[in-house]
């Protein structure tokens, strides 16, 4: 293509387009470009067949790549004058294939069935521009609150809305504010708890990254209501982008006069800053978080005193979660009545859930309280991934509980979930299919809390480790009669005796899986069998001799050479030597090799002998 020409016209001269009159188009283009004195700027190239012969004659104009179809000689004048000279492509000649999709809206249950309050602007506005937030009614709630309402009126509005803490506790937000406001000690602080450590929850990160000004506005409304003058965003160090976005938001708010002295000419002065964690799950607990803000080890303190009376630097401190704060601007703008019209008797409004695990549509969804688990997982979540069968769902992260298919009709609110042995928590929904071993999953959750226990109080530090040891033995075929009862006794004691929420809730995954999947525990302990073939010691691998074709691939790929045989005799695995690497299963061309639940008889004999000795 010629370099000094500014436009290339690729004219299809395949036989289809020629027969439809392509050559005549070329003549007309040359004629008109001469007339307009642009013939030196345009390069006309005849190409081979472009493909869509039924749409011929066709041409493509570069640099833009505009594709014209069914062009007639009469159209050339418009193309030359509008497109070539003025740079405006002729829409009516361009592809019309869009009509179908555009006229019929494509709506998917994932988006369609959500009601967005906190997530209203996430994925819509540019989070780095305060103007975009303002364009979407941002900061209106704050300004009208401080100019037209007393702090008491703001607190009453939030009380009336029925909003409860979204971080896990579910304590009524307005009531908490009342405590802080009633304390006359000064200064007061507001802390935004963004130490989102629950595995499977990421709504706080998404909010801070996607709509930081909303969270900041929420903090300002809270600060005005309780009379605080300083705020902290405590963000975990694993969220670097969230830190950047909220710092940027604070900077912009300062420049706009939304932070600082005498905001909007009133007595209300407030400023905010970011504090970072450094990797400690327990810092999500409010007293631990306050210690961390002050630069100390993030260990929890006994309550009372509650932070509302003696928090950061022993001053009254309000700690609210990110999602809680994100609800405030909309509640103040649309009113308590509107918010409380959604949800159930005790759980008002909407809640953000994070769908993860073996579910088709993973991600964040916001739905009215009270919808059923079934709707959440199978309608919005699209059901199970890879067409597998639903087995269980862990609600509320490592502190929550595991529910089964029988519980799918449960409506999602604070009380109903608690009654079932799970909890709302921060809204993590970890879905598991029927290839997952519940004993192993429970062990995994416990491993997490053992790692994250801060070590301050004995029940949590020592008790969880003991529970873990029992579970570990069970998954290795060393489970004993009475282990289940021991786990329950230990778990219930830890729940009652621990200092903070971490210990009080850490046994939940074990206790709820025992309640709902007791037969799996019993199979592991009594029959030395992992029904889903996950726990390595409790299954074995066998070759089906009827299917085996004697190709020897498995034998050659076995790293411990425990597979022997021949083409005629077929192959067998020496069970005692097998390390269950699974190589043989992968390479078998006829799928003759499979995992079988339970120990092989050879291994079981040895195990029994050792026990007798």
């Amino acid at each position: 293509m010629s370099q000094n020409k500014r436009m290339d016209v690729l004219l299809c001269c395949g036989s289809g387009c020629i027969s439809a009159g392509a050559k005549k188009l070329k003549e007309k283009i040359i004629e008109l470009s001469k007339k307009h004195n642009i013939e030196n700027e345009i390069n006309i190239i005849e190409t081979g067949c472009m493909g869509p012969c039924n749409l011929g004659p066709v041409m493509t104009i570069y640099p833009e790549g505009v594709f014209y179809q069914k062009v007639k000689v009469e159209d050339i004048q418009e193309i030359v004058e509008e497109h070539f000279i003025k740079g405006r492509p002729v829409k009516r000649l361009m592809s019309q294939g869009d009509n179908k999709v555009i006229s019929e809206k494509k709506e998917v249950p994932f988006f369609q069935n959500q009601v967005k309050v906190a997530l209203e602007n996430c994925g819509y506005l540019n989070p780095e521009k305060i103007e975009e937030y303002i364009a979407l009614d941002g900061y209106e709630a704050l300004v009208t609150s401080i100019l037209e309402k007393t702090p008491e009126e703001v607190i009453q509005e939030i009380k009336d809305s029925g909003l409860r803490g979204r971080g896990g506790g579910g304590f009524p937000t307005g009531v908490k504010w009342g405590f802080v406001q009633a304390n006359k000690n000064k200064p007061k602080y507001v802390v935004c708890n963004a130490d989102e450590g629950d595995p499977g929850a990421f709504m706080d990160r998404s909010l801070l990254e996607g709509d930081p000004h909303r969270v900041l506005e929420g903090m300002l409304i809270a600060a005005y209501a309780v009379g605080a003058s300083k705020g902290f965003f405590y963000i975990r160090a694993e969220y670097p982008l969230a830190v950047v976005r909220i710092k940027n938001a604070i900077e912009q708010a300062r420049e706009s006069g939304l932070l600082g002295e005498n905001i909007f000419g009133t007595d209300f002065s407030f400023d905010a800053e970011v504090r970072m964690g450094a990797g400690a799950f327990v810092c999500g607990e409010e007293t631990a978080l306050i210690n961390s803000i002050m630069g100390m080890r993030g260990q929890p303190n006994p309550k009372p005193p509650y932070p509302a009376n003696s928090g950061a630097w022993q001053k009254p401190t309000l700690v609210n979660n990110v999602e809680t704060l994100a609800n405030l601007p909309t509640i103040m703008r649309k009113g308590a009545k509107w918010f409380s019209s959604m949800g159930t008797e005790t759980s008002k409004g909407t809640k953000v859930f994070a769908l993860t695990g073996d579910i088709k549509n993973t991600g964040l969804v916001e739905v009215p309280m009270g919808i059923s688990l079934n709707d959440l997982i199978f309608n919005i979540g699209g059901g199970m991934a890879e067409g597998k069968k639903f087995k269980g769902v862990q609600l509320g992260g490592p502190s929550g509980g595991c529910l089964t298919a029988e519980d799918l009709q449960t409506q999602i609110d604070y009380e109903s979930l608690k009654a079932k042995g799970a909890m709302m928590g921060s809204g993590g929904v970890i879905v598991m299919d029927d290839t997952k071993c519940m004993v192993n999953v429970a062990k995994f959750f416990l491993e997490f809390t053992v790692d994250e226990s801060c070590g301050k109080c004995v029940p949590c530090r020592v008790g969880l480790k003991q529970m873990y040891n029992i579970l570990d033995n069970i998954t290795k075929g060393k489970g004993k009669k009475g282990d289940i009862e021991r786990l329950i006794t230990l778990g219930e004691s830890i729940q009652k005796l621990s200092l903070c929420g971490l210990g009080q809730s850490a046994p939940n995954p074990v206790l709820s899986t025992i309640k709902n999947f007791r037969e799996e525990y019993e199979a592991h302990i009594n029959d030395k069998m992992c029904p889903t073939c996950v726990c390595t010691d409790l299954y074995h691998i066998e070759i089906d001799k009827d299917k085996c074709i004697g190709c020897s691939l498995c034998s050659r790929k076995c790293p411990v050479t425990c597979i022997t045989g021949s083409r005629t005799e077929k192959y067998t695995i020496a069970q005692v030597d097998c390390i269950k690497c699974g190589n043989c299963i992968e390479v078998c061309p006829v799928s003759a090799i499979d995992k079988i639940p339970g120990m092989s008889s050879e291994v079981l004999n040895i195990a029994n002998n050792i026990e007798e000795d």
Partner: protein
Amino acid sequence: MKTLADLKKIREQAQKNMSLRESNNRIKIVIGMGTSGIAMGAREVMKTFLNELANRKIDDVLVTQTGEKGLSSMEPVVDIIEEGKPTITYGLVNSEKAKRIVSEHIVNGKVIEEFVVEAK
């Protein structure tokens, strides 16, 4: 800003700037740039869009960013917003798809149905 009127003035101006008609932009390409999107390759996608538009000397299309829409399993997610038409959301976008979106959708106005997650 000192009064509610100040805020409203800023809001009106911002709303104008955001509308395509006022800003001389024919189309807005909005790329989800939360951690999820970035981890799934949104930065590369944004680069491809900018390069493709520059190569084709298209200057009436705005490329901008937003946070997460929520559908993690479809990241990177890209919205194509055009005045008077449904907003098209494309999912699992990569460089290849971004190139096709520019040539087929942005330039020639043809929605690529197979990539569409939502149209509304």
